[in-house]
């Protein structure tokens, strides 16, 4: 164990010296290990995602974030940090942000920057067998109408604030105003005419407003105000008169009007697919 540790330390020291010697042209020191297609793809991902003037530098040199080249990192360390980030720093985890192919490529590239010429990550699941737990599962690959439904669900451009994810959190994206979607409506008609018993009416002063009540206690009432999109989380102190009644005039169909029937079919296909 001690021997291995010393060996690794010596290797690290050697690589650090190499790194210092070549400094900004580090990548050329490992050119032989970086010219395979996977590493080249990894370099492209690295350049556009990790090295963008604000974080790591080109070719693994230091920038606003630390140097990555010739640090003596081993493959496991590279994979763990890339997957889950470094706590309390601006380095966040990329396990869920990159496809398996791209993650494999960038891991291979950074490994190459550290002199590891054959890191042997599994291309279709580069974290497999490494004992690395990722906080949230990656989006499952979808195609056709299911993938189109996914894009529609989160569509910030054509739908804008009227998109589904303004009120629903799915696959780790969206604002969880509504409870998690446990039962996917069978039809578009059912989706439009959704039973919204959870929406109640808050009476505040002269105003009545549809609301999702989150908490009510001695300090006050916390609820989402559904008067307009996007919903507003409001806290009304206990000393302010407020009452709540069951039911409301609020209807789901009014908030999904930006979607056509065909689009809603695809959204339902997406929601069914991620529950398979």
């Amino acid at each position: 164990m001690m021997k291995n540790h010393m060996k690794r330390t010596l290797k690290s020291a050697l690589l650090v010296v190499m790194g210092l010697a070549v400094n900004a042209t580090l990548s050329s020191a490992f050119a032989a290990s970086l010219d395979d297609p996977v590493s080249q793809r990894g370099e492209e991902i690295y350049r556009t995602t990790c090295s963008n003037s604000f974080c790591h530098g080109p070719g693994g040199i230091a920038a606003s974030a630390p140097r990555l080249a010739a640090r003596g990192f081993d493959a496991l360390y590279i994979a763990a940090v890339t997957a889950n980030g470094v706590p309390d720093t601006q380095m966040v985890g990329f396990a869920n942000a990159l496809s398996s192919e791209d993650l494999n490529a960038v891991l291979t590239y950074v490994a190459g920057l550290n002199g590891i010429t054959n890191p042997q990550f599994t291309p279709d699941n580069p974290l497999a067998g490494l004992g690395i737990e990722v906080a949230n599962p990656k989006r499952i690959p979808l195609a056709g109408a299911e993938q189109e439904g996914r894009e529609l669900f989160f569509d910030a451009y054509d739908k804008g604030l009227a998109r589904c994810s303004t009120c629903h959190e799915v696959e780790g994206i969206g604002i969880p105003v509504a409870a998690p979607i446990l039962n996917v409506p069978a039809t578009v008609r059912a989706l439009r005419n959704l039973d919204t018993a959870a929406v109640q009416t808050v009476h505040l002063g002269d105003e009545d407003m549809p609301a999702v009540i989150l908490a009510q206690g001695i300090s006050g009432t916390l609820f989402y105000d559904l008067t307009v999109v996007p919903p507003v989380m409001r806290t009304i102190p206990a000393e302010v008169p407020l009452s709540i009644s069951e039911g409301s005039t609020w209807e789901h169909v009014d908030w999904i009007g930006a979607y056509s029937t065909a689009e809603l079919e695809k959204v339902l296909a997406f929601l069914r697919a991620i529950r398979r």
Partner: protein, 575 residues
């Protein structure tokens, strides 16, 4: 490694920028002119909605500023990356936000804590590979009943002014999707609060949103990039409008008489490569990538565009125009005009008629400038020196700006704008990066260095905005990264990275007073009064992330002291 930049990139700005207007500076403000001065309070981010950063208080003045003494100091206990905010002071209470989105209400006379609010973040709110990892809070806005702050997880939150209890919170967008967040202070306009977002270098479509100050309900949204069917949409190629950036990441201004909101917009993305966003067949520069790198004027009630002026069409230098918009009324060629002064990252200061956006003139504030060779009669950029894919091109100034986001100040007494300028050049290497929603979209990288022959990094200048004349200039060894405050005592205050809080004569630039505060300055000082006693307050605490990486070239070998404190000065009691 020492980088050198060639003299070829230097030239005299006087040869390049032809200002069309010749008129003597007026010494006093005109009768009936827009009044952007503050009094006992400092109610808005820029002081007033006109963004002058000018206090009408003159108890502290050129004759007695040397007597200033510390009145109180407050440490925020939030020391991660300095204190970058502008304090708001109303009715003797100071409101400040810190980098972790805490808000303090302090007794502005003593520094005593009245209440504290800590924003609760959503889990895992930072999108990997996005601009959402930047951590700062540049200030709050205060309405009649609420203190309102944008957050790092892209919410707008309002807390009760009296108690600090949360009143409402609305998620402006999901930071995990857009890769954006809110660092800037919102602006109160009538019964609305208006806010933009950080993300100008991201594959994102920037916007301004207005909410009701009492309820948090949505009022309107203005997209910086026009959508399909809207005028200006054809200034974008294909789907590039979805990822073209333009985030308005600083705080705007408001003219109540015209009922117009003014805001500067961010650069087009990807930053250094425009091939993916330039419509086919558009060889001209005019009006490409609207309304990025522009000043926009919006009807306050609806958010509809009244007019726009694009300062950097088809930007490829990361020259955001997101900085403050200073509103003033000046006499030009014998005619009283409602104008605005606006500087973008290039260091060029534009003067426009704020009623209609008419170009009136422009001048460069940096001494070294190579990104263009000049500005035409109608404000067009001449001789553009553009980054190239796969090649390294040296240009001055840098994407960090001929000035940072730290703001200028305008004094109606002197008729001068006071601005901290950075002298830097950069090697930019562009690439044709593919856009990915919410991710960084810089399309290249850059490395900064001093222009050859220069030893100091910046200067504090006094400019006549009407003539483009630099009236005085004071060199600074390091770039000045704190905002400017000017007062009716004919004083100009700012702080430097080494921790000195400085007071200059507004007329001559003479240094009149300095105080070592113990940590670098990256925030914005203000002036206020309580019971007839004037105070000068400055945030203290260096943004330590500026010591790192590519930005470290600003301050080679220096590690300025961080911290997070509010330091307040006043004159000693008379015996």
């Amino acid at each position: 490694m020492t980088r050198t930049f060639h003299n070829l990139c230097q030239h005299s700005r006087h040869l390049l920028y032809l200002f069309l207007l010749i008129t003597p500076p007026s010494v006093l403000s005109q009768q009936g002119a827009l009044d952007g001065a503050t009094g006992a309070d400092w109610p808005s981010y820029g002081g007033s909605q006109a963004a002058w950063r000018y206090s009408g208080l003159d108890q502290v003045n050129r004759s007695n500023v040397h007597q200033l003494r510390p009145a109180w100091v407050f440490n925020t206990d939030d020391y991660g990356d300095g204190l970058t905010s502008t304090p708001i002071v109303i009715d003797g209470v100071m409101y400040i936000s810190t980098k972790s989105n805490w808000i303090y209400a302090l007794d502005a006379a003593s520094g005593e804590v009245l209440w504290k609010y800590e924003h609760a973040f959503r889990p895992d709110f930072v999108k990997p590979g996005s601009a959402g990892a930047f951590v700062q809070s540049r200030g709050v806005a205060v309405s009649e009943n609420h203190v309102i702050m944008g957050t790092l997880d892209h919410a707008l939150v309002a807390v009760d002014r009296q108690t600090g209890r949360e009143a409402w919170k609305v998620y402006v967008d999901d930071s995990r999707q857009c890769g954006c967040n809110i660092l800037s202070a919102p602006l109160i306009v009538k019964d609305m609060v208006i806010v933009g977002q950080n993300g100008g270098d991201g594959a994102f479509r920037g916007y301004l949103t207005a909410f009701d100050t009492e309820t948090g309900r949505f009022r309107w949204r203005f997209h910086v990039i026009p959508g399909p069917g809207e005028p200006g949409h054809d200034s974008w190629k294909g789907d590039s409008w979805k990822y073209g950036g333009g985030a308005p990441w600083m705080t705007g201004s408001y003219d109540p008489e015209l009922n117009l909101v003014y805001w500067g917009t961010g650069n087009a993305a990807g930053d250094f490569y425009s091939g993916d966003r330039t419509p086919d067949g558009r060889a001209d520069e005019d009006g490409i990538n609207l309304y990025t790198a522009s000043v926009v004027a919006l009807h306050a009630n609806t958010g509809e565009l009244a007019w726009h002026y694009q300062e950097v069409p088809r930007d490829v230098w990361d020259f955001d125009s997101a900085y403050e918009v200073i509103l003033m009324d000046r006499e030009i060629n014998g005619r009283d005009r409602k104008i605005l002064a606006h500087m973008n990252k290039s260091g060029v200061l534009f003067v426009l008629d704020r009623t209609n956006g008419e170009y009136l003139g422009a001048f460069s504030t940096t001494e070294v400038s190579t990104w263009i060779t000049g500005i035409g009669e109608n404000g067009e950029l001449l001789g553009r020196k553009e980054p190239k894919v796969g090649e390294t091109v040296n240009v001055c100034p840098t994407p960090l700006g001929g000035r940072g986001w730290n703001q200028m100040a305008f004094s109606p007494r002197t008729g001068l704008l006071y601005s901290p300028t950075i002298e830097f050049c950069t090697d930019i290497t562009a690439n044709d990066q593919e856009a990915r929603e919410g991710n960084f979209y810089s399309s290249g990288g850059f490395i900064n260095g001093l222009p050859e022959g220069r030893e100091s990094y910046g200067h504090l200048d006094a400019w006549n905005p009407v003539t483009g004349e630099r009236v005085w200039s004071v060199p600074s060894q390091f770039a000045l990264m704190a905002s400017i405050l000017t007062t009716a005592g004919d004083l100009v205050f700012t702080g430097d990275p080494e921790g000195w809080f400085l007071a200059f004569d507004a007329l001559s630039g003479e240094l009149l007073w300095q105080f070592q505060t113990g940590a670098g300055h990256r925030g914005s000082s203000v002036a206020y009064a309580i019971d007839g006693k004037q105070f000068i307050a400055t945030p203290v605490g260096w943004q330590s992330s500026l010591n790192a990486g590519m930005v470290s070239a600003l301050f080679p070998g220096e590690t300025f002291r961080s911290g997070s404190a509010m330091m307040v000065f006043t004159l000693p009691e008379m015996p």
